[in-house]
């Protein structure tokens, strides 16, 4: 084998360079710097925990309640310090080791430990900064946004008003799903005959995607009552909100549907048409069912932003959770009731966001599996 080809003759040269390059990385500098950062971080967290904790106790917070967050922060900072020390020791051991392979393994461990310590330090510093932000200026931030007493006393009203948001959301979500599918089908009508409706649907999409949702809501909520039209001018503000949101989100969602419809491979259409299915039947039985499967994650994303945008209806006087909390805030010169609304929105949207992530993940896996 050896010497059978000319390239192999130079192997001694290549081998020599290769071995010369094969040094061991011990990450001495990085582990040292990490140690410095970790020590700094530990002191900062400890001092902050002590300060903010004792201030909280002065303000009447129970000792246990004040101790828990401070204690957790201090323990975390201690863990980081330990990590950094371990990294430095591994690095030193790597430098001392006579065995190249052992040294490399130690060096790798030191590297990983130091990165871990650094990222933990970063996170802790950000959290500490947040804690200070809440506590400075005689805890002005905490008092303004998190007045527990006010949150408790106003929660009932706010949650009740949140029902309006849920109603607006639920009704318009159903309307949007149907309405935007119609728009998407109009946008994908084929040929010369489909052109007028295609253009009209495009114009609608452009118009309502261009209009800020809040302006649409304002125009419809205050405009339609002035028109004296039968039925349309006598609706409640919740209905106007539903109409406005359906028009706005219908435009966005029709784009999602359209992307789904156009994403169905043309070979599927060819297969359906060649069996004698008409355009309508092909859409009904093949294209739309396949399209919907592909667009569930983006549809859910639209759904989440729709839920949040139900708060915009406050502008036309609908007593939704936001408007209710604004009234409470104005009466008390304190925004804690609005915080309740914020928390409500976050609580209902986070699980959905996670679900979307999961669905996207599942699709990606299926794609990779080649199905």
């Amino acid at each position: 084998m050896a010497g059978s080809s000319p390239e192999l003759h130079s192997e001694t040269g290549r081998a020599a360079t290769w071995r010369a390059r094969g040094t061991t990385q011990t990450h001495g500098l990085r582990t040292t710097l990490t140690l410095v950062v970790a020590i700094f971080c530990f002191f900062l967290v400890a001092v902050s925990a002590q300060h903010i904790g004792s201030y909280a106790v002065e303000q009447g917070v129970s000792k246990v309640a004040a101790l828990i967050p401070g204690g957790i922060a201090a323990v975390a900072a201690g863990y980081v310090l330990l990590l950094a020390i371990r990294a430095a020791m591994k690095s030193a051991a790597a430098r001392r080791s006579g065995d190249v392979y052992e040294a490399r393994a130690l060096g790798a461990e030191a590297s990983l430990a130091s990165w871990k310590a650094l990222s933990w330090s970063g996170a802790l510093l950000v959290v500490t900064a947040g804690a200070w932000f809440m506590a400075v200026n005689d805890a002005a931030v905490s008092r303004t946004f998190f007045d527990l007493e006010l949150i408790q006393s106003s929660a009932g009203k706010v949650i009740w008003a949140f029902g309006t948001n849920v109603t607006i959301f639920a009704v318009s979500a159903v309307l949007i799903l149907v309405w935007s599918l119609l728009i998407a089908i109009a946008r994908t009508l084929p040929g010369e005959a489909g052109r007028p409706l295609r253009y009209l649907a495009t114009a609608y999409g452009d118009l309502f995607r261009g209009l800020p949702a809040i302006i649409t809501i304002y125009l419809i909520g205050f405009g339609l009552p002035l028109t004296n039209l039968p039925i349309l001018s006598d609706l409640g503000s919740t209905s106007y909100a539903i109409i406005a949101l359906t028009l706005t989100y219908g435009a966005y969602t029709s784009e999602v549907y359209r992307a789904g419809i156009e994403g169905v491979h043309h070979s599927q259409v060819a297969a359906a048409r060649s069996l004698g299915l008409s355009h309508t039947k092909t859409m009904r039985y093949v294209v739309v069912p396949l399209a919907v499967r592909n667009i569930i994650p983006p549809l859910m994303n639209n759904c989440i932003s729709l839920q949040k945008d139900t708060a915009l209806v406050a502008i036309i006087g609908t007593i939704d959770a936001f408007n209710q909390s604004k009234i409470i805030a104005a009466n008390n010169f304190n925004l804690s009731a609005v915080t309740t609304v914020a928390i409500l929105f976050i609580v209902i949207t986070i699980p959905q966001a996670r679900l979307v992530d999961k669905l996207i993940d599942r699709d990606r896996k299926r794609m990779r599996a080649g199905g």
Binding site: R273, S274, L275, G276, L277, Y285, V286, L290
Partner: protein
């Protein structure tokens, strides 16, 4: 009168001429194999026959009735001309049974039970009855392609177009698909196959057409065309296939 008459058909995409003044007749119960190098227009020709592609000039007739030009009911036409694609194109959101009964129930208005019975009989014949409730992505390419053939047969086509139906299959799965085609030929189904399986073409076809630059360059019975090709291009094509071990 021939079942299918293709008279002077030309098809071009912009400046690219894929089919150029091609003429070909196919009789009832005849099996015609189209062979030729890639890009010679085999697939395009098949897709023009059921008007998935529009021809640029010329005419195509079925039983003497012109099916090109305006005013032809395409859905009606396609009921009677089946096509099977290289990539199977089964509907991934439907089970095997749903795939096969979709067109009979929705296009012909056949009852669901009747269509299912018919489909099960076909599936039985090709040994896939046990897969009736399986989704396509859980099956091998060979199985999918056999289902695709059944899906086309469910409409009782008078002409079946097979567009390189074994080209996407692993070699060991080719024979199970070809067995069905052999069986159909024996039952007198009129078929046009675009294929690269020369051995099979030789066995099953009544006539081989060698396409070259969008025209029928040479045609004849298999024994003649493979055994004693007249045209220079045909000889060169067959020589290169022999070299590659494909004949």
């Amino acid at each position: 009168m021939s079942l299918l008459e293709i008279n002077g058909v030309t098809k071009h995409y912009g400046v690219l001429k894929v089919i150029s003044n091609l003429t070909l007749n196919v009789d009832e119960h005849e099996v015609v194999c189209l062979i030729g190098p890639s890009g010679c227009g085999k697939s395009t020709l098949l897709r023009c026959i059921n008007r998935l592609e529009e021809i640029s000039s010329g005419e195509i007739r079925i039983h003497g009735d012109r099916i090109t030009g305006p005013g032809v009911d395409l859905d009606r036409l396609r009921r009677d001309i089946g096509i099977v694609f290289q990539g199977y194109n089964l509907f991934p959101h439907m089970t095997v049974l749903e795939n096969t009964i979709l067109a009979p129930t929705k296009v012909l208005g056949m009852g669901k039970r009747e269509a299912s019975e018919k489909a099960m009989a076909f599936l039985e014949r090709i040994g896939l009855a046990h897969k009736a409730n399986e989704y396509p992505d859980r099956m091998s390419g060979g199985q999918q392609q056999r289902v695709a053939i059944v899906r086309a047969l469910m409409m009782d086509p008078m002409l079946l177009l097979l567009d390189e139906i074994t080209s996407a299959l692993d070699p060991e799965l080719v024979s199970e698909v070809l067995d069905i085609v052999r069986d159909l030929a024996a039952r007198g189904m009129t078929m046009i196959l675009a294929t690269h399986e020369m051995g099979f073409a030789r066995e099953v076809a009544n006539r081989i057409c060698f396409l070259q630059a969008g025209q029928v360059y040479e045609q004849g019975p298999p024994a003649e065309l493979f055994g004693n090709p007249k045209g220079e291009r045909t000889q060169a094509f067959l020589r290169s296939l022999k070299k590659a071990g494909r004949i």
